[in-house]
């Protein structure tokens, strides 16, 4: 009697468990379909283009949406959904769209589809992540009224339309900016500028889980959180990059290491980030299918210029010269990153190798001489970084050791800050020592680095009217080509005062299985539409 009861209980539990688990859907492995492949992914936060800046979301959105412009492998803007983006004065821009484009639900893509999406993103109460991308369009402040001093609550905007957006006709959109901005066309390659169909606005929440785009792939089925997102070729696509494969299965991984094991086991066909620790093994195993891609992401060492101990530019340069960037890159990043003597990443038009010159080249003797000339450093030097990644602590420790050995700074302490608190700490100028500063590129223009990082209200508390004037001149230059020398002059100025020292440029390491070919991953997109399945 007792024995039966015991086993019945166990059996019941097992049945209940297997019943609620459900059986796997066919094709979930991504290997069954003839002309489809799988891509390793981290769980996206959102799939509404205006509401996400995470690279995982963007990987999916690049398959689902055609933006007005795209950036080719050389970093040059090319037209995609737009036929042309032109301006006489760099302030009023006319975007002409290619006719005959369709959303996945059959709706035509019109100038209004762009205006609607941009207005929604710029509308403060929607609280979308990409809100600030629209701040240079006229009328932005009306959609984002400032919170009065001492009040917790922001007043409700009186309008939900940017006055700077004018739908001229079905294929013409006129954009008026608050100031001339020569880089405007290149910014239109950023995911935040994607169009949205009318159907989206009936239920924005539902749309976020099931976006309808205008790209070569359409969402297929539900986004199964933390497991998979499936997209299939969109037959109504009339744009310039029709999909070569029938479908792509995004398999969501919690850890990069696990994704890499699955790549080796043939369970996933493409992963965009091979863990640095596995670099040499991956090179050996994958051969040509190991693809290092330079990235736009840079690490810097910022100085608290508002702190009087860091007011001497010579001291800041001495610190920069005392750091052996190559040694740290080799030790911490397996040599995958590139030491930097420039404020912008190598793939950005206008990049100059070692624009910085001597102050960014490791030289122990000169560093020490300059350090002494600047009066040295007394007291504790605190180094700030966040706990978001263990490698931060590794390279900061290396920097600390080099500053000890090369400059003789005896008392160095670490200030490791929770990731959630790090940016507010920097913003509030609470750091009293050198700190890790990082920038992820949004679009390949020197402006995208210089303005947010060195411009007004920067984290270092560095102020230079000359620098800001140069940026204004460059922004209103007649063309992108004409703007570059002016950005370079601004970069030179920032380097000569060194409120923040460049350290290294990141690199991503992708890998793919022998099941797929024509993989053209670049810094701007994994270009999933080009991939063919053997």
């Amino acid at each position: 009697m007792t024995r039966t009861r015991g086993s019945a209980l166990l059996l019941a539990t097992m049945l209940a468990v297997s019943a609620c688990g459900g059986s796997p859907a066919p094709g979930a492995g991504g290997q069954q379909g003839a002309k489809e492949f799988s891509v390793g992914l981290t769980e996206p936060d959102h799939l509404t283009p205006g509401n996400t800046s995470s690279s995982y979301s963007i990987t999916v959105l690049q398959a689902l949406f055609d933006l007005p412009v795209f950036i080719d492998a050389k970093g040059q803007p090319q037209m995609r959904a737009a036929e042309s983006v032109t301006s006489e004065d760099q302030k009023v821009w006319t975007i002409k769209l290619k006719p005959g484009q369709k959303f996945h639900n059959g709706e035509p893509v019109t100038a209004e589809s762009f205006a609607d999406a941009w207005n929604a993103a710029a509308y403060g109460p929607n609280a979308w992540t990409n809100n600030y991308y629209f701040e240079n369009i006229e009328g932005y402040d009306k959609l984002n009224p400032e919170t009065p001093e001492g009040s917790e609550e922001a007043p409700k905007p009186t309008t939900d339309k940017l006055s700077g957006l004018k739908v001229v006709d079905a294929t013409t959109l006129e954009v008026t900016l608050t100031a001339p901005f020569s880089q405007f066309p290149i910014t239109l390659a950023y995911t935040g500028f994607a169009p949205m169909p009318k159907a989206a606005f009936a239920d924005l929440k539902a749309y976020d889980a099931k976006p309808i785009g205008n790209g070569p792939f359409a969402l297929d089925g539900e986004w199964v959180h933390n497991q998979k997102i499936r997209v299939k070729k969109f037959d109504g696509y009339a744009g310039p990059r029709p999909a070569k494969s029938a479908a792509v299965n995004f398999k969501i991984y919690e850890s990069r290491d696990t994704a890499y094991v699955d790549l080796r086991a043939g369970k996933v066909d493409l992963i965009q980030t091979i863990p640095p620790a596995s670099t040499s093994e991956a090179k050996r195993l994958l051969g040509d299918r190991f693809v290092p891609t330079p990235s736009g992401t840079m690490d810097y060492l910022g100085f608290p210029v508002y702190d009087k101990r860091f007011q001497s530019a010579d001291l800041r340069k001495a610190v920069s010269m005392a750091i052996d960037r190559q040694a740290i890159v080799d030790a911490v990043f397996n040599g995958a990153f590139k030491p930097m003597g420039s404020l912008v990443a190598p793939l950005v038009p206008g990049y100059r190798e070692n624009a910085c010159g001597e102050p960014c080249v490791f030289d122990k003797a000169k560093a020490k001489a300059l350090f002494d000339k600047a009066g040295g450093f007394s007291g504790t030097m605190n180094l700030y970084f966040s706990n978001a990644d263990p490698s931060y602590e590794q390279w900061m420790t290396a920097v600390a050791n080099q500053l000890k050995d090369n400059l003789g700074i005896a008392d160095i302490q670490f200030r490791k800050i929770p990731a959630a608190d790090y940016l507010s700490t920097l913003r509030a100028h609470k750091q009293d020592g050198p700190y890790r500063n990082n920038w992820v590129m949004d679009y390949p223009s020197p402006q995208n680095y210089l303005q947010p990082m060195w411009g007004t209200g920067n984290r270092m508390g560095w102020e230079s009217k000359e620098f800001n004037d140069l940026l204004d001149q460059a922004n209103s230059a007649a063309s992108m080509e004409a703007s570059i020398p002016l950005y370079q002059k601004a970069e030179d100025l920032a380097l000569s005062e060194m409120p923040m020292a460049p350290l290294w440029n990141w690199q991503d390491q992708a890998g793919y299985s022998d099941k797929i070919s024509d993989v053209r991953i670049d810094a701007y997109s994994p270009n999933l539409d080009t991939i063919t399945v053997k």
């Binding site: 007792t2 009861r5 015991g6 166990l10 097992m14 468990v17 297997s18 609620c20 688990g21 459900g22 059986s23 796997p24 979930a28 492995g29 936060d45 959102h46 800046s53 995470s54 403060g124 109460p125 929607n126 609280a127 992540t129 809100n131 600030y132 701040e135 984002n144 009224p145 919170t147 917790e152 609550e153 922001a154 929440k205 976020d208 199964v224 959180h225 933390n226 497991q227 398999k251 969501i252 991984y253 919690e254 850890s255 290491d257 696990t258 994704a259 094991v261 699955d262 086991a265 369970k267 929770p418 990731a419 959630a420 608190d421 790090y422 940016l423 507010s424 913003r427 920038w439 992820v440």
Partner: protein, 307 residues
């Protein structure tokens, strides 16, 4: 029956105290979860304000907790910072973790007791020494080492099991992670069974049973083993907590979208409501499992039931 109801009623204060403590702990974490959402990019003040208000982050702790509980008893667990309903988020994940835990449990139970019996009956023999050495090893090695090693050796190199994910469903996808997760508990179950069995085999009632001329099988199964299982069952109840803690690591290694992964993520993102929701259910399950264990004592040894 009265006993069972009593035990369930005890859960009510436990429920409120635990949830409040958890809420307070997440609340006390440093940093602004909304700012952290945007990574290295700035968020406009307007967006910050709107999001803080939406998630009541400007209110004092007790008010936030009150709002949460009021909604929770009405079946609304709120939503995550990315706008996904918490109840929907957890739905699919419980199934994954339950399947993992049951696989691990069955493994612990069957293999653990089996090894324990073999070792206990042949005390000092080769089998016994092997079990002792093996379990010492498993207890000493951290679960992530066992996990990654098993994944590479058995999953990738020998291709006996899937390397990661839940594509193949239960039980195939859960076998390897279940064994990894259960290995620690298995070692204890085996040792407990062994020791307990050795003791009981020397007890008077076993000698009596033998003297009566009962067959060896019946003596061991019906008399000695049954009594020996009481400490093992106690352990299996308590071990449920260990399984949940181990699930955080195991689910991470084998990419199982379960509760463990979610707790880890949510604590990092400081999503108080999600953490509280999960922990509350965990506490309830823990209470239930231990209730079941107590009831099982009665089955194994009727004297306990009467007492």
């Amino acid at each position: 029956m009265k006993y069972a109801v009593q035990r369930l009623l005890q859960a009510v204060p436990v429920f409120f105290v635990t949830t409040f403590l958890i809420y307070a702990m997440v609340f006390a974490l440093p940093g602004d979860p909304i700012v952290a959402l945007a990574g290295d990019k700035p968020l406009p003040d307007e967006v910050l304000h709107t999001l803080r208000e939406r998630y009541h982050l400007n209110d004092p702790l007790i008010v936030q907790y009150g709002i949460y509980m009021l909604n929770a008893v009405q079946g609304d667990l709120g939503e995550t910072f990315t706008g996904q309903p918490v109840s929907e988020l957890l739905q699919g994940r419980w199934a994954v973790t339950a399947q993992l835990a049951v696989t691990a449990w069955i493994f612990e139970l069957v293999v653990g007791i089996g090894l324990g019996v073999i070792a206990g009956l042949r005390r000092g023999g080769i089998a016994d020494t092997a079990v002792l050495a093996g379990t010492t090893f498993v207890i000493a090695v951290p679960v992530f080492v066992v996990g990654y090693t098993a994944q590479i050796m058995l999953g990738l190199n020998l291709a006996l099991f899937p390397t990661a994910g839940v594509d193949e469903g239960w039980p195939v996808s859960y076998l390897l992670p279940g064994m990894v997760l259960g290995s620690f508990g298995l070692a204890y179950v085996a040792r407990l069974t062994r020791t307990s069995l050795i003791e009981n085999m020397r007890a008077d009632y076993v000698r009596t049973a033998r003297a009566k001329g009962l067959r060896r099988r019946r003596v061991i199964g019906r008399h000695a083993l049954r009594n020996s299982l009481i400490p093992v069952v106690t352990f299996l109840g308590v071990d449920f907590g260990n399984l949940m803690a181990g699930a955080v690591v195991t689910e991470g290694i084998f990419n199982l979208p379960g509760i463990g992964q979610q707790v880890f993520q949510s604590i990092q993102l400081q999503e108080g409501p999600v953490v509280v929701g999960i922990v509350t259910v965990l506490v309830m399950i823990f209470i239930l499992v231990n209730l079941l264990v107590d009831l099982l004592y009665g089955v194994l040894d009727p004297r306990i039931r009467r007492g």
